[in-house]
């Protein structure tokens, strides 16, 4: 199927006894901004490095536009590695032109694109400086320019926002939105979940080398159970622990934030709260991405499960998740077009 999408299909990778990826599957459609979140070591960077051909997967494949990636199609990917990589002693401008030319641009086009992106990202005055002379923030901008300079058809960015000041975050966000508008599939990883929530159309949460939840940000939040915020000042710690409706509870700025099981009766919770004393606030709230993430990651992958190839269906195994989960869910998503 020719759709201009980037499809990651059943990637598995192990390093000796350590399983880095087990059947990692998701896709990023043309003109979609996909946020890739997960704790450290969950497999985000490994996935991206396999997409770029820096690593070879033990199983599974990566397709772009319906066909497995080749060196020719990889040349059309813009990549920002997690550990930034530019020649420290080469001038920024020459470096960008060199990278553009390696990706197949003519000398004139490379020069033009370098100029344009440097101006767009605010490093035009530093083009004649060596990379090592730049501040970290500017090195980051140069790195982004390196990912964009060859006008890529796909963007894969590993932690593009880390270490950026708020102004640079805005510039970066604008650039990503603009690329999305140009019909480019954009996937980036980040630990700044508020940013992901604000920016992305789709989010994938990875844990233990597999995709545990994937969906539109709003759907994930709507389907992620309901959070109750209860302000009952006289209630002691653990007042809600015995309630069958409550899946998880934690204190947040003097209030209790409860995660309820699906279909739970919140009025019973209210009664339990009133039993402890006065209740100043009792509000339903959709969980933030951070809360979803925390819950998904803390539940973790089932222990003792062997590394397997593509297609293993993890749907329903995660508490509170009613959504399209890994494996089959993607097919549903493609056919159904939930947007």
């Amino acid at each position: 199927m020719r759709d201009g999408a980037l499809a990651i299909d059943g990637l598995s990778k192990r390093y000796g006894d350590i399983v880095a990826l087990r059947g990692m599957t998701f896709d990023v459609r043309a003109g979609e901004l996909f946020g890739f979140v997960g704790s450290n070591g969950a497999g985000k960077t490994t996935t991206m490095r396999i997409v770029l051909g820096v690593l070879t997967a033990d199983a599974g494949e990566v397709r772009y536009d319906g066909a497995p990636l080749t060196l020719a199609t990889r040349r059309r990917i813009g990549y920002m590695p997690e550990e930034r990589g530019l020649y420290p002693k080469m001038r920024v401008g020459e470096q960008l032109e060199y990278l553009a030319r390696l990706h197949g641009m003519s000398a004139a086009a490379a020069r033009r694109a370098t100029r344009e992106w440097a101006e767009r990202l605010g490093i035009a005055v530093r083009l004649g400086d060596e990379v090592q002379a730049l501040s970290l923030g500017n090195q980051q901008r140069a790195q982004l320019a390196a990912a964009l300079v060859h006008d890529p058809a796909v963007l894969v960015l590993d932690e593009p926002f880390s270490g950026l000041d708020p102004v640079a975050v805005d510039v970066m966000s604008d650039v990503l939105r603009e690329r999305r508008a140009a019909g480019v599939p954009v996937v980036f990883s980040s630990h700044q979940l508020d940013l992901v929530e604000r920016l992305c159309d789709w989010v994938g949460i990875v844990s233990g080398g597999e995709m545990v939840a994937v969906g539109a940000v709003d759907e994930l939040r709507a389907g992620g159970g309901t959070a109750l915020v209860v302000d009952a000042p006289d209630a002691g710690d653990g007042w809600a622990d015995g309630l069958p409706e409550v899946v998880a509870a934690r204190r947040e700025a003097g209030r209790t934030v409860l995660t309820l099981a699906a279909g739970a009766d919140d009025q019973r919770v209210l009664r339990a709260a009133l039993a402890t004393g006065p209740v100043h606030e009792f509000a339903r709230r959709r969980p933030t991405l951070t809360e979803l993430f925390r819950e998904v990651v803390s539940s973790g992958p089932p222990p003792g499960r062997p590394a397997t190839g593509a297609g293993e269906d993890a749907a329903g195994r995660r508490s509170g998740w009613e959504l399209r989960f890994v494996g089959g869910s993607l097919r549903v998503r493609r056919k159904g077009g939930q947007r």
Partner: protein, 439 residues
């Protein structure tokens, strides 16, 4: 989304099975350059172009590096200065001895004796004793014989008379005394002179003489040093360049678009070209200067032929060692780990050189050197020395070149595999076996 269709088709637009719809490129003028490049040549041409881009980067960044810009002219100046200094002070200039017009016979005897003894002296006629003394004082004569008699010469010098000239003058004085005695005894001077001139020695050598040509041995030594220094400088530069790409993680970006062999060969060719430029510069300055100033008493043709062979052997040696250094460099991820992997290779350069430079001056046709000049890893260091010294036969040179070329051809896939297997792996040092397995 129309953007996605356009992007998809132009990605593999040069594959025959997927014809690009008309106007796909036209919608994005910024992509025109790429379309022209990708469509213009075959995959092989595109692959070569990538290698040349890598070569171009290596050459341009290194030509502009401080190390090259400062060191190269400095070494050229040092080389020129060294040759000039040798020309000015190193050579023994003939000593000039002044004789009075009356002592013409003694002057002729001094020249003849000097020639027989292999000492370069010139006999100069001075007008009188005062003139001789003045010329000694102003330095145009080393000594002047201002009076002569049966009891010998009076010699005027500025400070002292060197031993060899003193010996020659003493011999001439004794000859004069002898002549005077022979005449006094009524002897036939002409007959004595003829008999003396006829007397000579006949040498019977028990073994074949060793052919020694100091000028050529000197040329061999200089050639050896230059090749040795070039290999020892630029070999590790290759390893360092590979480690730089790994340690700065540039390699991760590059490998998304460049194949490992392209990166490796581009780096080897680029750095090799820099070394060649440097060596050619030394040869272009050093050879004509040395021949012109008489430091090298060889014909320009011999010297240039030797320089040409040196460049050939530099290229062979560099190719051989650069492949090994590139593979070695790919095994480590940090500059501080590089010496551990490059040291064995450096020893492989240093040891043959040290052996060669120690044996060559004493015995240019030594059997050990002949063997080492054929062994591929030491050939690039030893063979050019032997060629310059004139002790390598044509068949030897041909065999040495052939063996080295075969080794290089064998090393290309081996080192390429190690490099490809190791260059993507960051972190700890990669074992050669693991690199080979995954390469």
């Amino acid at each position: 989304m129309s953007g996605s269709v356009d992007l998809g088709t132009s990605a593999d637009g040069h594959q025959p099975s997927a014809p690009a719809p008309a106007g796909a490129d036209g919608e994005h003028p910024g992509r025109g350059g790429r379309g022209a490049d990708a469509g213009g040549g075959t995959a092989a041409a595109a692959a070569r172009q990538v290698v040349w881009l890598v070569v171009g980067r290596e050459v341009s960044t290194r030509l502009r590096s401080k190390a090259f810009r400062i060191m190269t002219p400095l070494l050229v100046v040092l080389l020129a200065a060294g040759i000039s200094v040798t020309a000015l002070f190193g050579g023994s200039s003939p000593s000039s001895i002044g004789f009075l017009p009356a002592d013409a016979r003694a002057a002729a005897a001094l020249s003849a004796t000097g020639q027989a003894a292999g000492v370069d002296v010139r006999a100069v006629t001075v007008a009188d004793a005062a003139d001789g003394q003045r010329q000694v004082r102003d330095g145009s004569l080393d000594a002047a014989v201002t009076a002569s008699g049966p009891d010998g010469f009076r010699v005027v010098v500025r400070r002292s008379l060197d031993d060899r000239t003193r010996g020659l003058l003493a011999a001439v004085a004794r000859q004069q005394a002898l002549d005077a005695q022979i005449v006094a005894l009524g002897g036939d001077m002409a007959g004595v002179d003829a008999a003396v001139a006829a007397a000579d020695i006949d040498v019977v050598a028990l073994e074949k003489p060793r052919e020694r040509d100091n000028a050529r041995i000197g040329l061999g030594a200089v050639t050896g040093i230059l090749i040795y220094l070039s290999l020892l400088t630029f070999g590790p530069v290759v390893a360092q360049g590979v480690v730089e790409e790994k340690s700065s993680r540039v390699v991760e970006i590059l490998l998304g678009t460049v194949r490992p062999w392209q990166l490796m060969s581009g780096k080897v060719i680029g750095i090799g070209a820099i070394g060649l430029i440097q060596l050619a510069l030394y040869a272009a300055v050093g050879v004509p200067l040395a021949v012109a100033t008489g430091v090298l008493s060889l014909s320009v043709v011999t010297a240039l032929a030797s320089a040409g062979w040196s460049l050939v052997w530099y290229l062979l040696g560099f190719a051989l060692y650069a492949l090994l250094f590139a593979a070695a460099g790919s095994l480590v991820s940090r500059q501080e780990d590089a010496p551990a992997v490059t040291m064995p290779l450096m020893m492989m350069i240093i040891i043959p050189y040290v052996v060669g430079i120690s044996v060559l001056p004493g015995d240019p046709s030594s059997g050990l050197l002949r063997v080492l000049s054929l062994v591929p890893l030491s050939a690039p260091l030893i063979m050019p020395m032997l060629i310059a010294a004139g002790s390598a036969a044509a068949w030897q040179i041909a065999l040495g070149v052939a063996l080295t070329v075969v080794t290089i051809v064998g090393l290309v896939p081996l080192t390429g595999r190690i490099y490809a297997g190791a260059v993507k792996r960051t972190g700890t040092r990669v074992r050669v076996v693991d690199a080979l397995r995954s390469g």
